[in-house]
Subunit: 422 residues, 2 copies
């Protein structure tokens, strides 16, 4: 290895007693491993070790013996426990030196806030001599990228996820891509799908997934959605993008109806709400089994107030009658978990709130059955603009919380489909 090309096998060493004891999950490590895989760096081992100097030292020695590059996460903070940088520097026979930009940031903050103790925080402005500083956009602790002409490369990242993930995205990845392969460019896009299971998607795309090596297609299933990551390599950005886009065209021809958006940080709620904002269409809901969770979910999107005036949580039948003026005879005759009740809820919510779109959620969250229907039976009604209101039946499984979450996602998907067709 020379000092211009970074190694291809990385080991992630996460530092922190709370991680070790399982009190918090190692989400940083998982995220970093995913990002490294995208650019072709292999992670063969991940290690978790507590805030203990000797055992961290042992973990580093083991990692060095089997990996080209060691990436530590955690232990860069202001307290006495935070020793990662000190230990790695000693290990590399390097001094710690002040990173002027980071020191200025701490000084500026101390001056304006008046509460920060500069002395405690000075430590966070130190970097390993001869390392490239990785700027911390959400905190004070500087990260390090140390390219070692004589041995293992080192990357040091902070522990708090808000700091770590942003440093990976904005600082580490661009540096690594530049180091890596000289003239090879990686391009990767994430496609998000809803209303289709992973098994079906993989079957639909089996030949593409199995026979292609560039781009590669990696599926990943979440509670109520599936993502595909399409990654290509080429000699320039344009060629890599063209490869990715060709494969996306093939995927879309088969499963485009389930596609709702691009990107790792995207969500169906965000896509739907932003479409509603763009098209100036307002929305409301009347919720029974979801009890406010649909509205709470669209409420998580900044700017939603432009299209969402509010709505109803009608858990009891009496509330459906009183808040929404649904005739008692409807519920008595058809049952509360019925197509008719779902349609009435959607229609009345829309009318009462004077919105373009109204949704109605009624069903059995469980654990007990209701009206003889098993947990997971859900009707979702939608009243979309001047179209005749409709309702759809779902059968969900896997417990109360998953049933409610899938109901929310399915409601959002109904809105997405109407918007696409409109």
């Amino acid at each position: 290895m020379n000092d211009e090309v970074i190694g291809m096998n990385a080991e992630i060493v996460a530092v922190g007693t709370e991680l070790l004891l399982g009190q918090i999950a190692n989400t940083n490590g998982a995220y970093l491993a995913q990002k490294l895989a995208e650019i072709g760096i292999n992670v063969y081992y991940q290690t978790v070790v507590g805030d203990n100097p000797e055992r961290l030292e042992t973990a580093l020695r083991v990692a060095e013996s089997r990996s080209d590059i060691v990436m530590t996460i955690g232990g860069l903070g202001p307290t006495d426990d935070d020793l990662t940088k000190q230990i790695v520097a000693a290990h590399l026979n390097e001094q710690l030196v002040v990173d002027a930009a980071a020191q200025k940031k701490i000084d500026d903050y101390a001056r304006t806030s008046g509460t920060l103790k500069t002395s405690n925080n000075a430590k966070q402005a130190l970097k390993i001599n001869h390392a490239v500083s990785l700027t911390n956009h959400n905190g004070f602790a500087v990260g390090d990228l140390y390219l070692n002409a004589h041995g293992t490369d080192y990357v040091l990242l902070p522990g708090p996820p808000s700091e770590c993930l942003m440093m990976i995205d904005r600082e580490l990845m661009p540096h690594l891509k530049k180091q890596l392969h000289g003239d090879v460019v990686f391009k990767s896009k994430v496609l998000r799908f809803v209303g289709v299971g992973e098994a079906q998607l993989v079957t639909d795309l089996q030949d593409l997934i199995e026979n292609q090596t560039n781009p590669t297609i990696a599926p990943y299933a979440k509670t109520a959605e599936v993502t595909l990551r399409v990654t290509a390599t080429a000699t320039d950005e344009q060629a890599a993008t063209a490869l990715v886009d060709q494969t996306i065209t093939q995927i879309m021809a088969r499963d485009g109806e389930y596609f709702y958006g691009y990107g790792d940080d995207n969500s169906l709620a965000s896509v739907v709400v932003n479409q509603l904002i763009d098209r100036k269409l307002s929305i409301t809901a009347a919720e029974s089994l979801t009890a406010g969770q649909f509205q709470g979910t669209i409420g998580s999107v900044p700017g939603v107030s432009a299209v969402f005036p509010g709505g109803f949580v009608t858990y009891a039948n009496e509330a459906k009658h009183r808040l929404l003026d649904i005739p008692n005879t409807v519920i008595e005759h058809f049952g509360v978990v019925s197509k008719e009740t779902a349609i009435w809820m959607a229609k009345q919510a829309r009318e009462k709130m004077k919105t373009d779109i109204g949704l109605g959620f009624t069903g059995v969250a469980g654990p007990d059955e209701l009206e003889g229907q098993p947990a997971g039976t859900v009707w979702i009604g939608i009243a979309y603009r001047d179209q005749a209101p409709e309702a759809f039946l779902y059968h969900f499984t896997n417990g109360r919380q998953v049933i409610r979450e899938r109901s929310v996602m399915s409601g959002l998907n109904l809105v997405r489909q109407r918007l696409d067709a409109d």
Copy 2:
């Protein structure tokens, strides 16, 4: 070490490429580490390695060199990738032998279902010779507890969480407790606190936390709550429980006002809703910044329908006026983010839904400020039975989702305090 006493330092080695690449989280490892901590077994390292025989072998060798007991998770299944047991057995110079009970279970299932291929599954009925079998209550793969007179002890657990967690609880922990210390019993209780920060709680209890070794007190902070785990050892269950309870009494004398319940799987929503059910007190809410999330949260508790008829999401001012009959002059005069508006929301929601308790949430979720007030400014109103309605001001930080989540927890805490005082 002899073959009757198990080692006190464990290393967890999780096996699986999906874990390594961050596609699934290592929840098994976290759970196992917590359980081991409760009985006084230290976990100093956790390692994750892919489904690769050479690298698993390397990980085992490293783990052996620094830990008394190595616990593997994963790689016990029926496919060719599943090699953990084979590799550990070779490593220990032991044969694999058929576990008769596990083989019978596979044969019985194959006979009745007609679909299971016995040949593929036979592998899962193998155990390491001289190991104690750990029964799999949710699958076919047998686990192993291998007490090694000449070196490192081994525990082998299956990868699927439903199989792994049950094997830990029902098989591994009873065995370890029996092996461990002979006649020493561990007792551990988790106390949950809300409305107090970790820093304050630790300061209040500093002398207890620092000077006590039996019981120990371990604090842990989550988004809007703090837990303390109190763990004691003694020669019998009763003595251990007495030690734990004495310490709990001391903790309660100082911070009892913030305590809301016991247990790892407990939640404030569950405690509050179950108290409401027990006392037959009904509840509703009118939500602005939380947009249904408070109601969605209490809706997550089974049985809530007995005390929660429904409520209002009043995001726009117009909705506050129209659904709740709050005079426009109140909002115009005092502002929508104000004590008065919060009180009106709580009061009117309670009146309209004819419940015992009404809450009102109004505030600035962000990212933008509102009425000149910064993101995080939140008023929560409560109308409790016949008491005069009140409202409380909060200043939360850390972004839109955390602000909304803390608002929900603070609303629940207001109800808890009223119930305690009533």
